[in-house]
Each structure stands twice: as C-alpha cells, then as structure tokens.
C-alpha cells in the first residue's frame, strides 16, 4: 500500500499509519477468512471429528453390543488386535483391493479419456453416457452384476458360451475369483469419475506440443509416454491419493455381494471392522481395529506424498 506524502518529516508518521492500517486490514481480512472457513471446520468436527473421538475412547473400553454398557480396559484391545492373524490378513487383502482398484481404474479411465476426447458425435455422446455407472447406487451395482453373471439366467455366461467359454457362473462364490471380480465390479462403478478428470486434464495440454512432436516423427505411443503422461503427473498424483483413500474404505460394494466371504477371501479391513462390530457384537474391538487402520493409512499416505509428489509444489 503506497501512500504519497508531501513533506518528508510527515513521512514517518504517515508510514506508521499505513502500516497500522495495513495490519488492521490484514487482521480484518483474516477474521473474514476464518469466518468463511468456519462452517467447513464445524461440519468436519461435528460429523467426523466427534464420532472419531468417540471411536478412540471406545477402543479403550470393552463394549460388546454397540451401545451396551462397558468398562475401561486400557490398551487390552490393541494388544489383541495387533496379535490377531485375521486382522493382518484383512489388512493384506485391503492392500490387494487398493492396488487392484488403483491399477484397473487408472488404466480403464485413461483408455476411456483417450476415447472420449474426440469431436465427433460418438465422442460427445460418450462424454455423457460414460458417466452412468457412477450414478448408480452401490446397491444396484451389486444386484446388476450378481444377476448378470448368474449361471442360469445371467447374460454374461450365455455370451461366453457363444464364444466357446463354457461353464461360467457367478464368480462371487469362488475363493480365487471373488476378489478380482469385486475389483472389476467396483472399477466399473467408479472409473467414470477418473476418466472425466483425466480427460479434462488432457484438454489443457496445448495441441501445439503434439503437432511439434508429430512433425519430429514421434509415434503415438511415444507421444503418450513422453508428453501426455508426464504432463498429467499432478492430476494422477491427486487422483491416486484421494481415489485410494476412498477405495480403501469401501464397505457396501463388498458386503452386499459376499459379506466378506467365501472363507474370508474378500474380507478387507473395513469389512473386518463391520463384521466385528455388528456381527460378532464386539464394538470395542472394532474401534481398536479402526484406529490402527487409520494410523496405517496415514503412514501410507505420508509415504505416498513423499515419494510420488510431482516436482511442482503442491
């Protein structure tokens, strides 16, 4: 804020006045800023923070049926949880779930983004209908895919039959196939979001870069790896981070279809927590598992940010 003064000996006082006014303006601006951020913070504290606190406190007690009376037992639940093989198995499965979803969704989303990036009628229409799987509630997705793959009336086994692959049935009842099938089903549900993000990001890459590369004789593949991919790093980083966190905590898509079975093949950490709390009636155990899971996730996110953060400052 520059302030013009006529006389040199007034400049000092004027400067002081300016600085004070500036500070006051800054303080007012900060107040406005805090007021604007307040609703978000309040919501998060109330809807997420308080239940989280409740969970942490619960993990130190011995509550059985959710809501029943309990006593303080300190860290006993944590000791049990950390030594429970099934818990670590669930974490392992969560890792598989996470990696699987990340890879499949990214690949499909990228491929889709490339396909819908045209100017023709097909591309423009595709930009709308590609979003449909995302708009369907998880309940419907579960129903549709179980129904489509049923060996008796499902269309997928019938089509497979026609091309020579016989004897297919619903993969959700098979220990080896259930997890991959669920990953595919979940990816079908969520890939449109990633596709749209990547598509938009690709649109911001100026066409001249590609033109120049083409003149230099670069193939499509090389252009993709040398131009597109690196320029999309920030987007992919962000998408990967948030997308992974969301994926990790998905319960309904898995539970509605297999309830974690068969023989725990699809019991990821959130499903494990749900089972513990509401089917085994061990609310405090479930709380302890939740806390440990959050800590693990936070550590993972920290590592991810350190390692994968693109060079430009976030």
């Amino acid at each position: 804020m520059s302030e013009r003064t006529a006389l040199p000996d007034v400049r000092g006082a004027a400067a002081l006045h300016t600085r004070a006014a500036g500070r006051r303006r800054a303080w007012n601006r900060h107040l406005l800023g805090y007021a604007l951020v307040a609703p978000l913070v309040l919501l998060m504290v109330g809807v997420i923070g308080y239940p989280l606190l409740n969970t942490v406190l619960l993990s130190l007690r011995d509550q059985g049926v959710v809501g029943s009376s309990s006593h303080f037992v300190g860290l006993a639940n944590y000791q049990r949880v950390l030594g429970d093989g099934e818990f670590w198995a669930a974490i392992g499965r969560s890792g598989v779930w996470l990696a699987g979803n990340l890879v499949v969704q990214t690949v499909i989303a990228f491929a889709t983004a490339l396909l819908i990036g045209g100017n023709g009628r097909w591309a423009r229409g595709a930009r709308t209908w590609t979003l449909f799987p995302w708009v369907i509630p998880a309940v419907a997705v579960a129903v549709i895919w179980q129904w489509l793959t049923n060996s008796n009336y499902g269309i997928v086994p019938k089509v497979a039959d026609a091309v020579g692959v016989h004897g297919l049935g619903s993969p959700f009842g098979d220990t080896a196939l259930a997890m991959p099938a669920l990953i595919l089903m979940n990816s079908w549900h969520w890939f449109p979001l990633g596709a749209v993000v990547i598509y938009g990001a690709m649109r911001t890459i100026p066409g001249e870069i590609y033109e120049a590369a083409r003149v230099d004789g670069a193939s499509a593949w090389r252009m993709f790896w040398r131009i597109t991919f690196p320029l999309l790093q920030p987007v992919l980083f962000a998408l990967g981070l948030v997308g992974s966190l969301w994926s990790f905590n998905i319960v309904d898509s898995i539970y509605l279809v297999t309830k974690g079975g068969p023989v725990n093949a699809t019991t990821t950490a959130p499903v494990f927590i749900y089972n513990k709390a509401f089917n085994e009636f061990q609310a405090s155990d479930a709380a302890a598992v939740s806390v440990v899971t959050i800590v693990l996730l936070a550590a993972l996110a920290f590592v991810y940010i350190r390692v994968a953060r693109p060079k430009e400052d976030q």
Partner: protein
C-alpha cells in the same frame, strides 16, 4: 468503516449458512420419528420390506386403527441389515419403537439393551384362547418369562418339480438321505441340476444346512449346561451330505442366497430345493408351469439315527414401550392381530411363507380363503404338519442360549459349508473349525 460492516455481513451470512440446514427447509417428521413422540401413537418397526408385505401389514393396522383404540399404531419399515445398529442407537437416545417385530436370535440381541418388557401374561392368555404351537413359544421363553408374542411361523420343506421327476421316471419324493442323493444324481443331466442349495455366506445357507442337521440328529449344538457341542459325527455326516448336494447344484452355488435357488427351480434348471413356503406364491408366474407341477415333501431324514424335522422360525413381536399405558395399548394391537378374523389378512402378506402358529388360525377362513393357500392346500397342510417337529438352533428342547445371536450373526454354519465347498476342507475339519468358532463367539 466499510470494512467493519462488510465483516459483520460476512459473519452473519456464514452463520446463516450453518443455521439454515439445521432449522429451515427440508421437511421432517421431527422427534416423533423414533417412537414415543406423539402421545397417542404407537410406533411399530417391522422388517418385512417387500411392497406386498408392507401393504398387507398396513391393511391390518388400518383395520385396527379403525376400531378407534386409545392408542393408534403406525408402522415404520426397517431393513434387517440396518436394524441392529438402528435399535442400539434408538435405545440409547430413548427413541425406540413401541412394538418391534423379531426373530429368536434378534431378541437375544435386543434384550441386553434393557428395554424389552416381559409379556408372559399376554402370551398365557393368548395361548389359552388360540393355542400356540409349542415351538413358536419356546424360542421366546427364558427365565420363566416370555419376551415376545409369537405372530407367524416359517418352516422348510423339500420342493420338487413333479414334471421333471416324471421325465426322469421317479414316482415318489425321496424320504431318506440316500434316496435324496440318488434322485438328485439321476436328475442331473445336461443343463439340468438335480438340486439347488445355497453356499453363500448368508442366512439362507445357515437355514438349509441346519434343516439337514436336524433330520440327521445333530440339531442341538449345546449341552444342557450351555456348552458348545457342535462337533458330533452326525453333524459331520450332515455336512458330507450337503457337500454332495452342492456338487449336484449349479456351479456358482457359492454365491447363492434365497433368490438364486428359487430362480433355478422355477426356470427348470434345478429339480429340487429345500426352502420355506415362499416357493408357493410365485411358482406359476415364474415357471410358466401349472400348479400341479409343484411338489412338496418333508425334508429327507438320515438313513439311520435320523428324525423328522425342519428349521422353524417363529416370528414374534416385542414390546419396548417406556410406560405401562402404552404397553397396554401395544398388547391390544397384538390381540387384534391374532384374532382369527384378522389373522388371515396378516398372514397372507406372503401366503404360504407366513404360517399360522395358532390352532384356530390354521382353520380361519380369513387365511384359508386365499388363492394361493387354496391352490396348494396339500403343501400348506404338509407345512403345518412339519411345524410340529420344527426347531431352531439355540432354542432346541426348551433351551435358551443368550449368545446365539453371535453365531447366527456371523453365519458360522454358512462359513463351515464354505470351508468344505470353497476351501476343500474335509467335513470333519470344517466341523471342528465350526466348534472352535462357536466357542469363541459364545465366550466373549
């Protein structure tokens, strides 16, 4: 100066943005939602969600409300998957419903929350007037008190396609396990499967395997003192039979619940199924075949040491009202439901599936005049007969195992089946695992 007013405006706007969602638009039923709100309205929670059931129950409720009772009844339909958390939350915030429909294991879950009122006098009175089936009451009898009023029963039968049987040259329904297996093998040709039994991790699997355990003599999982006694040779035998039946079922039985075996049965992809009475009502419409093609028989018994039986689910109503006057109102409603002239309307929410569990209910015209009941009179009578030997694990022979909810909640029986079917465990190993799992569940 402008800054200050601007700031005030900003703060006010933001404050409004927080307050608006909480108070203004959006509509609500307000605090009356969970129960106890409106002074003269009792809330009733039931979990029979399909539209036809909701409509039928509503009819009975409307008829009751039309008699101008002191307390009117309002139904709020819940989801079985959600009701466990909902009832805990509701009880904690003192907004629980006045009447809560239940099944035996759900009652063991709700009772520790401390709001279930004993209904011994009412049950005794109704028993005198209508004569309950013993199995119906037994599942709610503990500590010399009755904790719920039985309302409708469900029992399993062996369903079979008479047309497919005729084609394979089988004239009679199987009566023993070896006959069952033999028939199923004979009927498995080409795209047709002899039988369709479920192996998903769900209640459907629990129920079917349990019926076979009962007829194999392994229906009681507990010693008289309440210890887990699941690991028995008879249980292993039942599981072995089930594994054989699964081999003859469609290949993706591992994901089956209630809908899939029924769909297979109705489309002719499977010739037999073991289930409750829900097979009656949609049979003609879904299979395109006449009603005479639907056959029913008691569940086959083990060749030796077997006994007649089937899983029996007594569905009842608990009263959770906070004060005595409301509880009396709730009792009035339950009396109304069990009266023969109203009982039929109630049961025909799902004709054939919901069975009367009173003597005068079984002969009530309001029930027997229903299309489906008339058409399948033979099977209905067979089910009523089977009810007499019905039982439910945890409540066998007058038992009352408090922690049974933890066993059914985790679908331990289904998990045992999956260990054999999916994991390749031997039946003996799987049963041992089941024993251990049940002990863990019960001990904590």
């Amino acid at each position: 100066m402008r800054f200050r007013t601007a700031r005030r405006v900003a703060v006010a706007a933001v404050g409004l943005a927080v307050v608006l969602p909480v108070t203004a638009c959006g509509g609500s039923s307000g605090p009356a939602g969970g129960g106890g709100g409106n002074d003269k309205t009792l809330t009733l929670w039931h979990m029979e969600q399909p539209p036809n059931r909701v409509a039928a129950f509503q009819k009975v409720i409307d008829a009751y409300n039309a008699t101008n009772p002191e307390y009117k009844v309002k139904a709020q339909v819940q989801d079985w998957n959600q009701v466990y958390t909902k009832i805990s939350s509701a009880v904690q915030s003192k907004t629980q419903p006045d009447i809560l429909f239940t099944i035996p294991d759900f009652t063991t879950y709700v009772r520790p929350l401390g709001v279930v009122r004993p209904v011994t006098d009412l049950v005794k009175e109704l028993d005198q007037e209508h004569h309950f089936v013993e199995a119906a009451k037994a599942a709610y009898h503990d500590d010399d008190q009755y904790w719920a009023v039985p309302l409708y029963g469900m029992v399993q039968m062996l369903w079979y396609r008479k047309d497919l049987f005729a084609k394979a040259g089988i004239t009679e329904a199987p009566k023993t396990w070896s006959e069952l297996l033999a028939d199923a093998k004979k009927l498995t040709t080409g795209k047709q499967h002899g039988i369709a039994v479920p192996a998903g991790k769900n209640l459907a699997t629990d129920q079917v395997i349990y019926s076979l355990m009962l007829t194999g003599g392994a229906g009681n999982f507990f010693t008289p003192s309440g210890e887990v006694d699941f690991d028995k040779p008879q249980a292993v035998a039942a599981l072995s039979l089930y594994a054989e039946l699964l081999k003859l079922s469609p290949s993706d039985a591992g994901s089956y619940s209630w809908g899939e075996p029924q769909a297979a049965f109705n489309s002719g992809a499977a010739a037999m199924a073991i289930e409750k009475g829900q097979y009656l009502s949609p049979f003609e419409k879904e299979s395109g075949r006449p009603a005479s093609d639907l056959g029913c028989a008691p569940i086959p018994q083990a060749d030796s040491g077997g006994q007649p039986g089937s899983i029996y689910y007594s569905n009842a109503a608990m009263i959770l009202s906070k004060d005595d006057a409301r509880a009396k109102g709730a009792e009035e409603f339950l009396r109304f439901v069990l009266k023969p002239e109203n009982y039929g309307t109630f049961l025909n929410a799902e004709p054939g599936l919901f069975l009367p569990l009173t003597a005068d209910g079984a002969t009530a015209p309001s029930w027997t005049n229903n299309e489906v009941i008339k058409k399948y009179r033979g099977c209905v009578d067979a089910m009523l007969e089977q009810s007499k030997t019905g039982a439910l694990f945890g409540f066998v022979d007058g038992q009352y195992i408090d922690s049974i909810g933890k066993i059914s909640g985790q679908n331990i029986l289904a998990q045992v089946v999956q260990r054999v079917y999916n994991n390749g465990d031997s039946p003996a190993e799987a049963i041992k695992w089941g024993q251990q799992k049940m002990q863990e569940a019960v001990s904590r």
